[in-house]
């Protein structure tokens, strides 16, 4: 089977070179080893181009916000602590979008499909009264096991609706969340800590994780430096999954998924089924979404049910796009940069702006930035 692998690698390389329009062409974490060493001037210019306008604007905005925070003697270490916590909390959900883009499914607005799997895992483990690492592990495991058939079905539907994946994904996600709302209300969970006190049936809208696995990962190896507390465990997990994902897309399997997207006909000639790789991408994305929400819940301290996951895909998509991804190209670096930028903005904006404006302008700003970014990506004419 070594024969088909070569043209496949060639296809992937061609694709990385083809992403000229503002996205960094090189591979994510490790420095590009194949390209010749660039001179200092061209390197600066390349950096500016790679950073792209949205990132520069958001980055500048973030610096201004921090400058105001410093100038008005706000609790800057506290802001940084909160930012770090939110970056760690949301990272996996953003990373979950990556396989879908690599696999040619576009922006995965169907992320709630994975999220409800993870939530089911949390609820089942809580209902069984599992605590600590066992509880967290069980939640993640159940979420993962559920997400595989769900992701497979999702992929099967997306394969029959090519060209409309984003719209179909959005509404599948909405339908899944509203369908699960009925499930949460009717499902036979009887743990009195989870169900409404009145009537004894129907899960509460938010379930507290205190006493179960509240901030378990956040506290793992956590330390404080210069007044900033670092949620080491969650950050390490995020970093670990980023590394794994980056590595995965360098294995033959991962390259196959990306190559099939870059050139379906070529891939077919090489013995790769585009249908199969798309399904694999959907499963990977859904599974990471399920894990992502379990990590999110332990860090947040609450499991949010019913309509809470309805719009969760949109901020995650905005993170990835702010990081520099496009509808058809994304790297792990985009995930990290985007999560850091967008989550920091969201954290810092509220306390800083509330000094100037009454009322929560940060929520409005989030709506504008998030959806403006998505719309920009959707209407962008990608160079080929």
């Amino acid at each position: 089977m070594s024969g088909p692998a070569d043209p496949v690698t060639g296809g992937a390389g061609e694709d990385a070179g083809g992403a000229r329009g503002g996205a960094p062409g090189g591979p994510p974490a490790p420095p590009a080893d194949a390209s010749p060493p660039p001179g200092p001037v061209s390197r600066v210019r390349a950096l500016a181009r790679a950073a792209g306008v949205p990132r520069l604007v958001i980055g500048f905005f973030l610096i201004v916000l921090f400058a105001i925070a410093v100038a008005t003697r706000m609790d800057v270490p506290g802001l940084l602590t909160d930012s770090l916590a939110r970056i760690a909390r949301n990272g996996l959900l953003v990373l979950a979008l990556l396989p879908a883009i690599r696999g040619g499914l576009g922006l995965n607005f169907g992320l709630p499909l994975g999220i409800v799997c993870g939530l089911t895992g949390c609820v089942v483990s809580l209902n069984a009264g599992m605590k600590g690492w066992a509880g967290l592990g069980a939640a993640a495991l159940i979420g993962l096991l559920l997400s595989i058939p769900v992701g497979w079905g999702y992929g099967a539907i997306l394969n029959r609706t090519r060209g409309q994946e984003m719209m179909v994904g959005t509404y599948l996600g909405f339908a899944a969340v509203s369908g699960m709302s009925i499930f949460w209300l009717l499902a036979p969970f009887h743990n009195p800590q989870l169900v409404w006190a009145l009537g004894g049936i129907g899960l509460r809208t938010t379930l507290s994780l205190s006493g179960a696995y509240d901030k378990l990962l956040d506290r793992f190896l956590a330390f404080e430096i210069a007044g900033i507390s670092v949620p080491t465990g969650t950050l390490l997990l995020f970093a670990g999954f980023c590394a794994l994902t980056a590595l995965f897309f360098r294995t033959r399997w991962g390259i196959t998924i990306a190559a099939a997207r870059a050139n379906p006909r070529f891939a077919r000639a090489a013995g790769i089924s585009y249908t199969a790789t798309r399904t694999q991408a959907a499963i990977l994305s859904t599974a990471l979404g399920a894990l992502g929400i379990v990590v999110f819940a332990q860090s947040y301290g609450f499991v949010q049910l019913y309509t809470a996951p309805l719009y969760m895909a949109f901020p995650a998509v905005a993170c990835l796009l702010i990081g520099g991804a496009t509808v058809s190209n994304a790297t792990v670096l985009h995930v990290i940069v985007g999560t850091v930028l967008f989550q920091s903005i969201l954290t810092v904006a509220l306390p800083v702006t509330s000094q100037v404006v009454q009322g929560d302008i940060s929520e409005t700003a989030r709506l504008v930035i998030q959806n403006g970014m998505i719309l920009y990506a959707l209407t962008r004419r990608e160079k080929r």
Partner: protein, 355 residues
Amino acid sequence: MSLASRARAGAAHHSVPILFATLCLAGALVAHIKPSFLASEMLLRFSRNGLLVLSLLVPILAGLGLNFGIVIGAMAGQIAAILVVYWGGSGIGGLGAAALLATPIAIVFGLATGMIFNRAKGREMVSGLIAGFLANGLYQIVFLFMIGSIIPFHSPSMVLPQGYGLRNTVDLTSIQYAMDDLVPLKVAIEGSAVRVPVATLALIGLFGIFNLWFLRTKLGQELRAMGQDPHVAAIAGIPVERNRLIATILSTVLAAWGQLLFLQNLGTLNTYNSHEQVGMFSIAALLVSGATVTRATVPQAFLGTILFHTLFVVSPLAGKALAGDAQIGEYFRVFVAYGVITAALVLHAWRKERE
């Protein structure tokens, strides 16, 4: 063809509305809903939503799909309503002024939406959805933060106590029932007087006729040709991009007027959420009739509005009767709305993929 097989073919063709009619009927029977109650509710809801659902038809004809951007049109209607109430307009004159004022705003909004659609060909629906979200954010910036601070606006009853930002609800009693009671008619059903909004229904009927007439115009035929095959239409000399803009503008203006009809009946404006669900509910209503992403007719718009809103009224009551909990019915109707849209999108894309 025998009568039985013809009936079977007809049933298969209309399976979606038949399914929903059955669901409505079953729910009504379970919850023991009186036909008179249902009839008066339908009269109300049809007159509120009919025009909004009609506003979806032209973009479907032009091949733009379901216009999730009508939310933006609804916002134009609301902006006009807020301004007219602020300037002290009332009655049918006030409503007419609001409709006049809404038109240029909706034209500008529709033009912007149409330009987005032209840049996002093949992704119009998801772009329209996101454009609606974005417009919602911009709307909040204007009405929650700029009104009273940057934009001069002196009305203590409308502005929040902090001095800027509109209150969560705007009282529209000055224009309430302006259209509904233009031709006052009340019918006594089982002892209670039910308002029959003759003028509103006539107006909705008129727009239905307008839509039918529009199909026969040159522009209507061009849009139909574009909907069938944009490439062939472009080669035939039809200005595709321009016509797509016109179709979007038309839809946005109709949605603005539709939202005004909705608001004049309701009598209050939820400043920050009245428009949010407009797109989803109007689209679900249209699809319940068996309309698709590429084909929808005026009768389907009317039938769908009635069926969907029957389900809307019935399902919480049925949920309460069945499980003792109205909440289940509420989740169920939201699930139906999303589910119907999902099914229509999947079927549409599936069919397109097979071609």
